[in-house]
C-alpha cells in the first residue's frame, strides 16, 4: 500500500475570514471593560457550540435538533465533577473537562451508532435528536441529588490547570478564545481535506459514496461524535465562566437557538457559525433593550427571510456572490 497523498489544502476564503476574526477578537481585552469581556467570553463559547453544530449539520446536511444535549452534558459533567466529588482543586477542572467532553462523546457514539447505522437520515434524524434533548432535560431536572434539579448547581470553580487559574476576565476570555480558535482552525483543516470532501459527497449522494468503497455510516458517526465532543467542550468551559449550571443549558430552547446562530452565519462555512452567534447575540441585546416583545418578532422575520431569500443563510449568500465575482474576474 502506498501512503495516501495529502490533498492540497489551499487558503480558502473561510480560513482567511477565520484568521482575521480570531485576530480581531484577540484585541478585545484592550478595548472592553471587565463586564463586557465576560460577555464576550460567553459569546465565544456559544460560538464554539454553534461551530460544533455546523461541523455536523453544515457538512453532512443532517440537522441535529439535540445539540444542546451535548453542550449540557459538557456543562453538567464539569459542574458535577467539580462540585459533588470534592476533588483536589488543582486538577478538578481538568477532570471535569475530561468528564464533560467524554460524556458528550459517549452519548453521541451510543445514540449515533444506532440511528446512523440504522439508516435514519433527514427529518427523522432531526426528530430523534429532538427527543434526545427532551430526555436529557428531564434527567437534568429529575435527578436532583446529582444535578441540583430545577435550581441547578452553583459554585463551579473557575477553570484551573497546571497551577494556573483562569480567574480574571482577561485570562478566562483568552481561554475561551483559545479553545474556539483551536477548534475553528482544526475543523477548517479537516473539512478542507479529503475527509471534508467525502462528507460533501455523502451530502450529495450517500449510496454512490458507499459504492465507491467508503464506510459512510462510520464517517458520519465519527463526525457526529467529534461534533458532540466539541459541544461538550464548549459547555464545560461555559460553566467555569458563569460559575453555575442550570437545566436551561440542556433544554430544547438552546437546541433551537444554536440552529438560528448557525443559520444566520450560513451553515457549512464553519466560521460563519461563530459570526452568526455574535450577530444574533448583539441583535438580541439591542432589540430586547427596545422592547422585550420585539425579539421574537425579529427572529420570526428572519426565519421567513431565510426560507424565501437565503435558504443557507445570509453569509452563504454573500460568499456565493463573492465567488461569482471572483470567477468573473478570472474569465474576463
Amino acid at each position: 500500500m502506498t501512503a495516501t497523498p495529502v490533498r492540497k489544502r489551499r487558503f480558502r476564503l473561510p480560513t482567511m475570514i477565520a484568521i482575521v476574526l480570531v485576530a480581531l477578537l484577540a484585541m478585545l481585552p484592550l478595548l472592553a471593560n471587565a463586564y463586557a469581556l465576560n460577555n464576550y467570553r460567553d459569546v465565544a463559547l456559544l460560538g464554539l457550540f454553534a461551530l460544533s453544530l455546523d461541523v455536523f449539520w453544515g457538512r453532512t446536511g443532517i440537522l441535529s435538533f439535540g445539540h444542546a444535549t451535548f453542550f449540557g452534558l459538557g456543562a453538567y459533567g464539569m459542574a458535577v465533577t467539580t462540585i459533588q466529588f470534592g476533588l483536589d482543586p488543582a486538577w478538578a477542572s481538568l477532570a471535569g473537562l475530561g468528564a464533560g467532553v467524554l460524556l458528550a462523546a459517549v452519548v453521541a457514539l451510543f445514540v449515533g451508532y444506532f440511528i446512523l447505522y440504522g439508516g435514519v437520515r433527514g427529518a427523522y434524524f432531526t426528530i430523534v435528536t429532538l427527543a434526545l434533548t427532551l430526555i436529557a432535560g428531564h434527567i437534568a431536572v429529575g435527578w436532583s441529588s446529582v444535578t441540583g434539579g430545577d435550581s441547578g448547581l452553583i459554585g463551579v470553580p473557575p477553570f484551573s490547570a497546571f497551577g494556573y487559574t483562569f480567574y480574571d476576565p482577561v485570562s478566562s476570555f483568552y481561554l475561551a478564545l483559545g479553545a474556539l480558535a483551536l477548534c475553528l482552525f482544526g475543523s477548517l483543516w479537516v473539512m478542507h481535506g479529503r475527509f471534508g470532501l467525502v462528507l460533501k459527497a455523502i451530502q450529495d449522494d450517500e449510496t454512490k459514496v458507499r459504492t465507491l468503497g467508503y464506510k459512510t455510516q462510520w464517517i458520519l458517526l465519527k463526525t457526529f461524535v467529534g461534533s458532540a465532543a466539541m459541544a461538550g467542550l464548549a459547555g464545560a468551559l461555559y460553566v467555569t465562566g458563569t460559575g453555575f449550571v442550570a437545566p436551561d443549558l440542556i433544554a430544547l430552547l438552546l437546541s433551537t437557538e444554536v440552529i438560528i446562530w448557525v443559520a444566520v452565519g450560513g451553515s457549512g462555512t464553519l466560521v460563519g457559525a461563530v459570526i452568526g452567534t455574535a450577530i444574533v447575540w448583539q441583535l438580541q441585546v439591542k432589540i430586547s433593550s427596545i422592547s422585550f416583545a420585539a425579539w421574537p418578532i425579529a427572529i420570526g422575520v428572519f426565519f421567513i427571510l431565510m426560507v424565501l431569500v437565503f435558504p443557507k443563510g445570509p453569509a452563504d449568500w454573500i460568499l456565493r456572490r463573492v465567488r461569482a465575482w471572483q470567477r468573473k474576474e478570472k474569465t474576463s
Partner: protein, 235 residues
Amino acid sequence: MTDTSSVLQLEGVTRKFGSFTAVKDVTETFRQGELNCIIGPNGAGKSTLLNMICGTLPLSAGRISFEGQPIQGLPGERIAELGIARKFQVPSVFPSLTVRENLEVAAGLRGDDALLEEVLDRILLRDEANRPAADLAHGKKQWLEIGMALMLRPKVLLLDEPTAGLSVDETRATADFLKELKGKVTVIVIEHDMAFVRALDAHTIVLHLGEVIAAGAFAQIEANEMVKDVYLGRR
C-alpha cells in the same frame, strides 16, 4: 488452458427466472485491453449478463472467471475490488463537487495525483476541472462518471448504455473517447444505438433471446444474414 491475454471468461453462463431463460449458455472470452460491445434487441438479456458479471445477480449455471479465478458467487464489492468496475445507465456524479473533486473522491483511499491528471485529460474535462459537476452537460457527466470508474484502475470496465440520452455529437465523441481506452482497459459496452456501435467498431457480440447468435468484428456482424433478420433489419 486460459490463454494469457484473456481477462474475463464466461463458460456456459445461464440465468433462469422461473421457467423463463433470460441468458442461455453464453460462452465468451474477453481479452486484455479489448473493446467489446454487446448488442441485441430489448429483452435479449444484455443487462442480465452484465449483472451476473458484476455480481449483482447470481448465475443459474455456468462459470465466470476473472484472470483465471472463478468469481461467480462473490459479493459485488469483492468483484469491484478485484478490478471490475461498472457504470450504470443514469449518470451519478456528485453535483456540488467540482470535476476534480469528484475524481478525488472516486480514488478512495488509493488517492493518486498522477492518475488523476491522466484521467482528467483522458475524459477531456481538463478545462472544466474546477467547475461543479452540476454545471456539466449530460454527455460530459457520463464521461466524468467513466473517469470516476477509471480512478479505481479497473481491469474491466462495464458500461450500460453510455449513450442513453446523448445528442448525436455527444454520442460520436463518446465512441471516440472509448476507442482511446483500447489497449489500456478491457471495456464491455451494452448498447443498442447502431450508429454508435458502428462508430465504436469493436468486437461485437449479438444476443437474441438470451443466446449468442453471432460474435466477431462489427463489419462481419453487419454482414451476417441472421443478425440482419433479428436485429439490424428491424431498425
